[in-house]
Symmetry: C2
Subunit: 230 residues, 2 copies
DNA sequence: AAAAGTAATTATGAATTCAATATTAACTAA
DNA sequence: TTAGTTAATATTGAATTCATAATTACTTTT
């Protein structure tokens, strides 16, 4: 593994640990050994421990006094709560975007949307999801609210390690595409109330949670990658 | 100042620094001297620096590589963005509260509401605001969404150092009380859509921002306590 | 063999030390 | 004086060291 030799070492280390968690190389509930990670990254305990404290504030790990750090266990409830929150933030981003977005930005999103439709018709789920992500990111950016963006990306990072795309049924997919059609229309009309409502109710959030609920048993901690796929 | 001799030192230190910021003992933009704070708190640089990193992720201070930490300058836009976000979160908390709240909890909030009305009629702004806070906190708790609660309290902390209560006009106050009346009714009917809408539009959020806008010049950083009172 | 207690080991919490970077002060030259 | 340069100082960044708490291994006892 490539050693780190950068400034803002603690932030770099925190990101790297975040990656390990996202990719399942650190399991939920697993005790995080400081020494091991120090050796892995080639840094001393000082920046590593700073990183752990930051990751705890970001909600990725939890710190037990005198008993080390461990990766947060994602229960179904925790994931659902996070998605509820993300939906509310998306709703707000839609409302704000309508107030600030330029014609040029709308055109760019329309283009992304058209490309996304291509992938939808070709049943290319992975490419579809990437475009989908870019559209939502575009709206978030157009909201011009940096605090909102910061919060959203933090929430998104917390649940990144759970992926459910494969479980998406055709019916759900069809509905999601319809939602997107309505979104773009609301955006072009700059109807903030409508776009906010659409985004709050948008399947992309609820769907994944619903799917997840069907896949895992209630209240059981989600072992990451147990429901995973592309 | 009382020395700290507790476990989870970094968290304690972070809270104490947060208090200093809230009460204006550390000015926005002011460089934070590690040595000074170490002496003030009677701790070494290690836990102090950990606290600084945590406070940076919480959005209270910013870290400039090799150039120390400074208190975040609150611009009008930053405050407005934060309040927009808080309003959205309150809206969500209302929706969720309707789904989970017990009759007992509703009764408790109704009681708080009645007490608040007392203070309203007596023009006791301070007591009014405290009850107001407790009501919103009650709804937040009833939402049963811990991630939401965590996020809300973080946002709230970011803008805590700005207070505007004195600027509240009677008309605004009257409207706020009407809003609250509607809130309680919606809550008792468990009408989540309605309560969500009321809370999103609730004056308590918008009002303060609007007031602030009238008091400070646009885009100028808000020196905390410059608009203060209560 | 199982349980309880004790010693040895390991890991964490925090202070200190060392190194690198930035800031300030002092000095020189125009 | 003032701009520019260099040296001195102070501050930050990171590693190391020391202290303390937790875990494990090992006895001892029943």
């Amino acid at each position: 593994m490539t050693k780190i030799l950068q400034r803002n070492l603690y932030r770099e280390v925190a990101d790297r640990i975040g990656d390990l968690i996202e990719h399942g190389e650190l399991s939920p509930g697993e005790r995080i050994s400081e020494k091991q990670l120090c050796e892995k990254f080639g840094v001393s305990r000082t920046p590593l421990r700073e990183a752990l404290k930051v990751l705890a504030t970001e909600g990725l790990i939890e710190l037990l006094p005198n008993r080390g750090a461990r990766v947060v266990r994602l229960t179904f409830k925790k994931v659902k709560d996070t998605y509820d929150l993300m939906a509310a933030l998306e709703g707000l981003s839609g409302e704000l975007a309508c107030q600030h977005i330029t014609d040029k930005e709308i055109a760019a999103i329309r283009t992304l949307h058209n490309n996304m439709l291509e992938h939808y018709h070709q049943h290319d789920l992975k490419a579809y999801f990437e475009l989908n992500r870019q559209i939502h990111e575009g709206i978030l950016t157009a909201s011009q609210n940096e605090v909102l963006q910061e919060m959203y990306s933090n929430l998104s990072q917390r649940v990144k390690r759970v992926r459910y795309s494969k479980k998406m049924t055709q019916a759900f997919w069809d509905q999601a595409v319809k939602d997107h059609e309505n979104m773009i229309n609301a955006l072009e009309k700059r109807d903030s109330q409508l776009l906010g409502q659409i985004l709050r109710d948008h399947l992309c959030n609820k769907l994944e949670v619903a799917t997840l609920a069907g896949v895992i048993e209630d209240e059981a901690p989600i072992e990451e990658h147990s429901v995973v796929n592309a």
